[in-house]
């Protein structure tokens, strides 16, 4: 409870870190914020070539670029919060070593700054939807709670991974690879329906599955997400968050000694 009240006092610091991250990211770049959409856009092009033109995956009539981009931007958001969040303590090592402040402010700031990039990408998605003549629907509002769960999940994970990274740099090396494998174990580039029945139950253990699948249902197919599964995911995420946040707060007291 004490840490939440303290966190509130430091809300200005969170905003300041977020602003620093955003400003610093695009200083001395020519393309600036365009970089925020170049990454998901190029993945979309690659996926379109591989999954649409070569593998000819069925998307129930949705143009494949739109089909993949509608989930890619959410995944990119997730992946960048994971990557930057995991490295947050060590990339601010001088601060952590010298000055006291609640360390999770760095993590929340990254959720915010990555969120700005994500918003830019959302604009791109909207343009793409208009281009392909997709229609609007109330189900699209499901994106907000889905996004909420995703952000909580990412925060819970980086509480753990950033603390581990202080002690073991291995996690930084494994992260990029892990996230790539994880993306292919999540229905980002293909529909859930192509997952074979035999491994379906195993596949569904991935908490990102109902979230990513949910975005696509809500945005492209005017459907509600798989609510029972999403409920389980939510409970699991909240439990995980409680655990990892507590662990993080315990560990942060001696970050300065080991970082």
């Amino acid at each position: 409870m004490h840490s939440f009240r303290e966190l509130l006092q430091y809300s200005y610091l969170i905003l300041s870190f977020a602003r620093r991250d955003i400003r610093a990211r695009y200083k001395q770049t020519v393309l600036g914020a365009a970089w925020a959409i170049i990454q998901p856009l190029s993945l979309m092009v690659v996926f379109t070539l591989v999954f649409d033109k070569v593998a000819r995956i069925s998307t129930d009539g949705t143009p494949y670029p739109l089909f993949s981009f509608s989930t890619l931007i959410f995944w990119s958001f997730f992946a960048s919060t994971m990557t930057q969040g995991t490295l947050a303590m060590t990339s601010n090592a001088t601060l952590v070593r010298k000055i006291y402040f609640p360390r999770e402010t760095l993590l929340i700031a990254i959720l915010l700054s990555a969120g700005v990039d994500f918003l830019v990408a959302c604009g791109m998605l909207a343009a793409l939807m208009v281009f392909y003549g997709a229609t609007a629907s109330w189900t699209m509002l499901w994106v907000l709670p889905l996004l909420g769960i995703q952000v909580l999940f990412a925060f819970a994970l980086v509480c753990l991974t950033s603390a581990i990274h202080v002690y073991f740099r291995d996690i930084g090396h494994g992260l990029t690879l892990g996230l790539q494998l994880w993306m292919f174990a999540t229905p980002v580039a293909y529909p859930l329906s192509v997952v074979p029945e035999g491994i379906r139950s195993l596949y569904l253990l991935n908490p990102m599955v109902p979230i990513i699948d949910g975005y696509r249902r809500a945005l492209l197919y005017h459907q509600t997400p798989d609510l029972p599964r999403l409920g389980i995911t939510l409970v699991a995420v909240v439990a995980l968050l409680g655990l990892t946040y507590f662990t993080f707060k315990r560990a942060e007291r001696t970050f300065a000694d080991v970082i």
Binding site: Q9, Y10, Y12, L13, L15, S16, F17, R19, R20, R23, A24, K27, Q28, T94, L95, V96, R97, K98, I99, Y100, F101, V166, Y167, F168, R169, D170, R253, T254, A256, D257, V258, I259
Partner: protein, 410 residues
């Protein structure tokens, strides 16, 4: 002194891991260490280092406490615990009030951001709010004296400007407790004076100040109590001048240990052999007296006769600040190199040093002062008796022969 301390260390101990910069460099090492710990119960203590052991002290509101001690004594660890950057391994630390730290000022600067952006960022890191920063912004910029460059990225600042800006932000935190770590050493003389004024101002507002410094003059001038730390414990605590003197006496033997060796190579043609200091009564190794004569007898060896060798003698105060020196060249006197051993005397009449401890360095140079034949830095020390001048009063250690005149006097 109103009863309850604002800062208290209660049996505080702090342990660090020793190996590889105090953390496991990789998962593999961590795992192997864990396995060793499981299967071998002994020998684990060798991996650890106790930076603090059972440290106890209490600091009252409004006190200015100096923390002194040689490197590795535990000052930085103490500061880290005080600033809540880390926690004690054992024991408890308690604090009442807002703590601000002037530790490595500018640690939170981002090189790509402008001075203005960095003021807000750095202020936020130190716990200031937006409105507070907006209110103090002009004063911060004025203090740092960088107003022309507020919108320039910090990376184009000179290091002095960046440090000034960092200090300016920190100086505006207005905490209840301020931790200061050696920052008084930054900036030019004018900026240092500004910083010292700020410290004095904060002290007047009953801010509790903890000052860590190797500059004993600053410690004596700005603290009303000193904690002397030694190998992780508090060795002594009390009145600044007494503790500082005791501390300096204790580190003296090590510093003056160069008496045997020369910093110049062994085949120097002329070498300083020994030095004897006599007071006005001719007594060796007795304190000199302010206002009376003092004699410095330097014996030197001549290995190979070189022409034009001159003797240099220079003085430092106990804290290592140079107090000037003399060479025999000034009087046009060269060393006598015709004999293998000879003595040259420097007589100061009168001795103008104030009471205290001084260090003596001796050198032999060629007449053009371009080449050192021998240098014996801090070869020996001597004490001076005389009027006790609180070092608060004069920022030096000599009283020049002088008198004052004021308009209107006869």
């Amino acid at each position: 002194m109103d009863g309850r301390p604002v800062l208290a260390f209660d049996n505080v101990s702090k342990r660090y891991r020793l190996k590889r910069g105090w953390h496991f460099a990789s998962l593999r090492e961590g795992l192997s260490r864990a396995r060793r710990r499981l299967f071998a119960s002994n020998g684990a203590s060798a991996d650890y280092f106790w930076a603090l052991r059972d440290v106890n002290f209490q600091i009252q509101r409004g006190e200015s406490v100096g923390l002194i001690g040689s490197n590795g004594a535990g000052k930085s660890t103490t500061l880290k615990i005080l600033s809540r950057v880390t926690v004690p391994t054992r024991g408890t630390f308690s604090a009442v009030g807002k703590i601000g730290a002037l530790i490595e000022v500018g640690a939170g600067f981002h090189p790509d951001l402008s001075g203005r952006e960095n003021v807000f960022l750095n202020g936020a890191i130190m716990g200031m709010t937006r409105s507070e920063l907006e209110r103090k912004f002009d004063s911060i910029v004025a203090f740092a004296d960088i107003d022309r460059f507020v919108d320039t990225p910090i990376k184009y600042y000179s290091s002095g400007m960046a440090v000034r800006l960092g200090f300016a932000v920190a100086a505006h935190i207005n905490p209840d407790i301020l931790l200061v770590d050696e920052v008084l050493a930054v900036g030019d003389a004018a900026f240092q004076a500004k910083c010292l004024n700020k410290l004095a101002e904060l002290r007047e507002q009953a801010t509790t100040i903890i000052l860590v410094s190797h500059n004993m003059t600053n410690i004596v001038q700005h603290c009303n109590r000193v904690l002397w730390m030694d190998r992780g414990t508090v060795r002594a605590a009390g009145e600044p001048e007494a503790i500082v003197e005791e501390y300096l006496q204790s580190v003296q033997p090590q510093k003056a240990s160069t008496a045997g060796g020369s910093v110049i190579d062994d085949d120097a043609p002329v070498r300083v052999a020994s030095v004897v200091i006599r007071n006005h009564r001719g007594e060796a190794d007795a304190p000199l007296s302010y206002g009376s004569a003092g004699c410095f007898e330097v014996e030197y060896e001549v290995v190979a006769p070189v022409p034009d060798a001159v003797l240099g003698v220079s003085f430092e105060n106990a804290y290592g600040a140079p107090l000037g020196g003399l060479t025999s060249r000034l009087a046009g006197i060269k060393l006598d190199v015709s004999r293998p051993r000879a003595v040259m005397r420097l007589v100061l009449d009168p001795v103008i040093f104030t009471r205290g401890l001084y260090k003596l360095s001796v050198s032999i140079q060629d007449e053009k002062l371009q080449r050192f034949f021998d240098v014996k830095p801090r070869m020996t020390t001597f004490t001076v008796d005389g009027p006790s001048l609180a070092s608060r009063e004069v920022a030096g250690h000599v009283i020049y022969p002088h008198h004052w005149q004021q308009d209107g006097d006869a």
